[in-house]
Amino acid sequence: MAGDSAIAASDARKGTDAPVTLSVRGLQKIYLSDNGDVEAVRNLTFELRQGELVCLVGPSGCGKTTLLRCIAGLLEPTAGTVELDGAQVTEPPKKMAVVFQEYGRSLFAWMTVRQNVELPLKNAGMGKAERTAAVDKALHAVGLDHAAGSYPWQLSGGMQQRVAIARAVAYQPEVLLMDEPFAAVDAQTRADLEDLIRTVWKEFGVTVLFVTHDIDESVYLGERVLILSNSPTVVQEDLTIDLPAERDQLTTRSMPRFTELRAHVYEEIQKAKRGNGATA
């Protein structure tokens, strides 16, 4: 695989000695259908250390969502394993939360924002006072204190996705999975939400796996970027993003290093597409 130099550069980073939280080994998923079987993911292996923010980027249709659903325990892999803190994931684990791309369909339209965020906690048997505090903290973190009594459909798309994020962090997961969460919002909102993710990540100390098809987004957000090849999907490169921890839309994006990393990811993805074309 390419990218040895980039991996070598990652050794000095602080996260490397933290314990492994999420481990994916030899993951394969084949969809069986009457019109022939479809291999969405082939042999994926990678690890997330505790407290990392890792972006998973790849060309559209390369099985990112399938992979994420396997990790979340929503889909049974054909082969390989997913382990969370050493325990194999066979159904959605308690210590994991997922933010879906389709925020409009993932929020409960018949509940207010507060009830939406509160429901998983209530279901987990958390006491009332503790619950209220957790909901307030999460809503404050995403800047929605004022909207607690509104219904999701009364809010804009970006705000709805904030609700979904608040619900996920209030659940206090160890690992937060995000499946192209900002693909359906406008550019300005998207930039705001990206900064929000960095803030929430730091504030709640959660391990984040962020799936996206947007190269800029992956470089801007991630401490590490996993580049996937086109189907059949494997990890093409594991790239450490050696940008400063404090990031903001203007200065970070205009750094020469940002441009370099971005160009590198872009090339790798182009290579991934070509490579696939040659073998097939």
Binding site: V38, E39, T78, A79, S231
Partner: protein, 280 residues
């Protein structure tokens, strides 16, 4: 698309493990549905044969179906069916035409919509069977008495849908039409009617089902011939025949539902395709 596909199917055939677990027992749902019907008939037969229910209250499935078959060989059975279907069709047609005309007139004018709203909301929930005594008083035990009920019941189903449809006209399209000086008739013809058409179809489908219910009800309670009257006559005298006739009304109901859905589907498909072309 095609290179990816060939690569995928090749990979799929190379990975047989796990297949039976995912496929399960692949019984097509149509077969299961037939099994359900056969199972029901078998249970019915057994309940009677085992003496759980006396045949003079509930004859065995085989004798009821046999009775239906021998009835179907007689000319008078088809005369009853013809009479029922005629009342149904005439009633639905009269109600449909009246409701469509009135609906378009009311629906195309804001003033009329508002002025008639309270009256319509008051008259609509009045159960049509309340009119039975009036119908008998006016027409005796003839087919017209039943027809009155059928028309009244089906009329509201269609009217409400036409009003929904006429209210669904795109305001921009309406403004456009007005700005080009289209008159009332032109607007109804080119704007209101096409927008309302799918709703009209839904209304006719609902109306068709209600019209059948009221046709049989009228025949049963008022008389005047048809399947309903025959059921009333057979009650207590020819039990097997009564059950056979009930099954016959069910079969007619299924046929009418299937027909109405097919017609509606065609109309809706036409509508959707037209819309897509307009957008593209």
């Amino acid at each position: 698309m095609s290179p990816a596909n060939s690569a995928l199917s090749a990979a799929g055939t190379a990975a047989p493990p796990g297949r039976p677990r995912h496929r399960g027992l692949a019984v097509p749902s149509g077969v299961l549905g037939v099994l359900g019907i056969v199972g029901f008939l078998a249970t019915w037969e057994l309940v009677v044969r085992s003496g759980l229910v006396e045949p003079r209250y509930l004859p065995a499935a085989s004798s009821v179906l046999g009775e239906l078959a021998s009835l179907a060989a007689t000319g008078s059975f088809w005369e009853w069916v013809g009479l029922t279907l005629r009342t149904w069709a005439v009633g639905l047609a009269v109600a449909g035409v009246a409701a469509i005309v009135l609906g378009l007139v009311i629906g195309s004018s804001r003033f009329l919509r508002q002025a008639t709203h309270s009256t319509i909301e008051f008259l609509r929930p009045i159960p049509s069977v309340a009119l039975i005594p009036l119908a008998v008083l006016l027409y005796g035990t003839s087919m017209q008495a039943t027809l009155l009920l059928v028309v009244y019941a089906a009329f509201w189903q269609v009217l409400i849908q036409v009003l929904y449809g006429a209210g669904d006209v795109d305001p921009v399209a309406d403004d456009t039409a007005r700005s080009y000086g289209l008159g009332w008739t032109a607007r109804v013809r080119y704007l209101v009617w096409p927008s309302a058409l799918p709703y009209v179809m839904t209304g006719l489908r609902l109306g068709a089902a209600v019209a059948l219910i009221l046709t049989v009800t009228g025949e049963l309670v008022i008389g005047g011939g048809g399947l309903g009257t025959q059921i009333a006559l057979a009650q207590g005298v020819a039990v097997t025949e009564m059950y056979a006739l009930v099954v016959a009304t069910g079969l007619i109901g299924v046929a009418i539902n299937l027909l109405a859905r097919a017609v509606e589907k065609r109309a809706l498909r036409w509508h959707v395709s037209v819309r897509r072309e307009a957008v593209a």
